[in-house]
Symmetry: C2
Subunit: 317 residues, 2 copies
């Protein structure tokens, strides 16, 4: 298993630079006052397809050989990776096939379709997703681009933290949501290489705390019946992301559903930007750990903005 280095992320950045947005870093004096620290929000909700996933998908698709890309690409995903891969494939002019749980948010299904991705619906279990994908690949001859257990995908995801550290040198901590671990592991590699002494924290919903439990027990514990509004963080770690996490991440924190929703609402109200529930998890961890935060300068990864505007969680509290 070849683990990405910071040099691999640098090369990925050169490769995808003209294809992805260099997203802005926003700050909020309101939120700094409220939390007692200096927060720098990396706005991947403004990334193409509305999420950081477009970085990894683009790097994976661009890195394929002419022959390897000939029959298109395929994946299973509940949303953002699917849309990202569909757009990356469309830009290269190849097909894209997606196994998608029928429970995926409607807006995410619509996005995949709008980029020309061909969806086969399946049950919302890892087994059903994988079986459906195997069938798709057999029929189409397409190449599997795993949402996070993929060298080039992780390198692409690592470019977001690289940009953040370039724009905001001197960060003392970086908070990143963790689902399958792609953005967390890529961010950790960049951050630890670029900023001496920076602490990297994984942030996870308590209702899908497989990364927390894996970190504590030092072995991969798969996600079983995860239940959280953060629909992008339901997946389990892979060997690759687990290995990077154990070596480069300082701690994993979990937060309740209530705290995720409150954090999401605060970002909407105070920063006037739209983030999806999964993207609010890192800020929720910041809010819940004031002792850790006092006076420090920290980065917060806002992973995506594909919230369902017709189904907002605030009103349901």
């Amino acid at each position: 298993m070849k683990i990405p280095t910071y040099d691999d992320i640098r090369k990925a950045h050169q490769r995808i630079d003209s294809e992805v947005h260099r997203t802005p870093v926003l700050t909020s004096s309101d939120i700094n006052e409220m939390t007692g620290c200096h927060l720098y929000f990396k706005c991947e909700n403004f990334q193409k397809t509305g999420a950081f996933k477009f970085r990894g998908a683009t790097n994976a698709v661009i890195s394929m050989t002419e022959t390897g890309a000939l029959e298109g690409v395929a994946t299973h995903s509940s949303g953002n990776h699917a849309a990202a891969l569909a757009l990356a494939a469309k830009k290269r002019g190849i097909g894209c096939y997606i196994a998608m749980p029928h429970t995926a948010p409607k807006n995410k299904i619509a996005a995949v379709k709008s980029y020309g991705g061909k969806i086969t619906f399946c049950e919302p279990t890892l087994l059903s997703r994988e079986e459906t994908l195997v069938k798709i690949i057999r029929e189409t001859g397409s190449a599997f681009v795993h949402p996070y257990d993929n060298f080039n995908v992780i390198c692409g995801q690592g470019t977001a933290a690289k940009e953040l550290l370039e724009d905001c040198p001197g960060l003392e901590a970086l908070f990143v949501p963790v689902g399958g671990g792609g953005i967390l592991s890529g961010s950790a590699i960049s951050a630890k290489a670029m900023q001496k002494g920076i602490r990297v924290y994984g942030c996870e919903p308590a209702g899908a705390d497989d990364a927390y439990r894996s970190f504590q027990s030092r072995k991969i514990i798969p996600s079983v019946n995860p239940c959280t509004i953060a629909d992008g963080l339901l997946t389990s770690l892979s060997e690759m992301t687990f290995s990077i996490m154990m070596n480069q991440v300082d701690e994993i924190f979990t937060v309740s559903e209530k705290h995720i929703i409150t954090a999401m609402q605060l970002i909407w109200e105070r920063m006037k930007i739209i983030v999806e529930p999964s993207a609010a998890v890192a800020f929720a961890v910041v809010m819940q750990n004031p002792d850790l935060m006092k006076g420090i300068k920290a980065g917060v990864m806002l992973t995506g903005g594909n919230a369902d505007l017709f189904n907002l969680p605030f009103a349901k509290k």
Copy 2:
């Protein structure tokens, strides 16, 4: 009546520079593709208090003499100017008294209170607002800061377009919402002085089209029973804003409620930022005038982001 010049706006900018945010200018490749032009959105929804109004209020409050400011400031406003004046007064350490229609959006009432503004509720008519204000001023001795019929307020509002033109030289057109005309007239003065040949367009809800009718008939026609979701654009022009509009604005366009809501939803979905209905009116005009827009480089003023998250208009369509 002393009309502001661009030089006055330059001086105002120096005065308020350290107090207001230099808000970002965002672009969206999705929206550019959809409209066939190059749009530069000036994000005053990210301004302190969530709207451009903080620029004018700050300039007015800072410009007051020690004696003049002693008894505080007062105004009538349905929301954003009230919150802006309350924060500007708080920063100077003086009182702020607001006559506010009881129909004002709840989130805007809450914002005024959070900045320490003292609210007296009144009926949602200009007469009731003015009568209530006179009473407040008599009781408190505070100084009236009109939301737009005020030299220093207009100079402050003009700094938003100044920043936009500094960041994006070469704009061929600028689209700005018009209610009382503060941001439109300030923007027009800056734009016409800074960019040769630029056209400045006022953008108004059809349900509150007093600026359109005033522009056509070349005399002030007050707003009577205006009805629009764009609650920041209900007010009538003043002598000062009318005069600037007649001299510096190229045209006024109106749009329907349906188009305002669609424009607002598009900004939320594609740009992942929160704008209030009034702020979507300029983009709605762009969407409804494709012939005017083809291939041009245009600025769009996003005036504020204080949308009521618990009462979104999309779902009601």
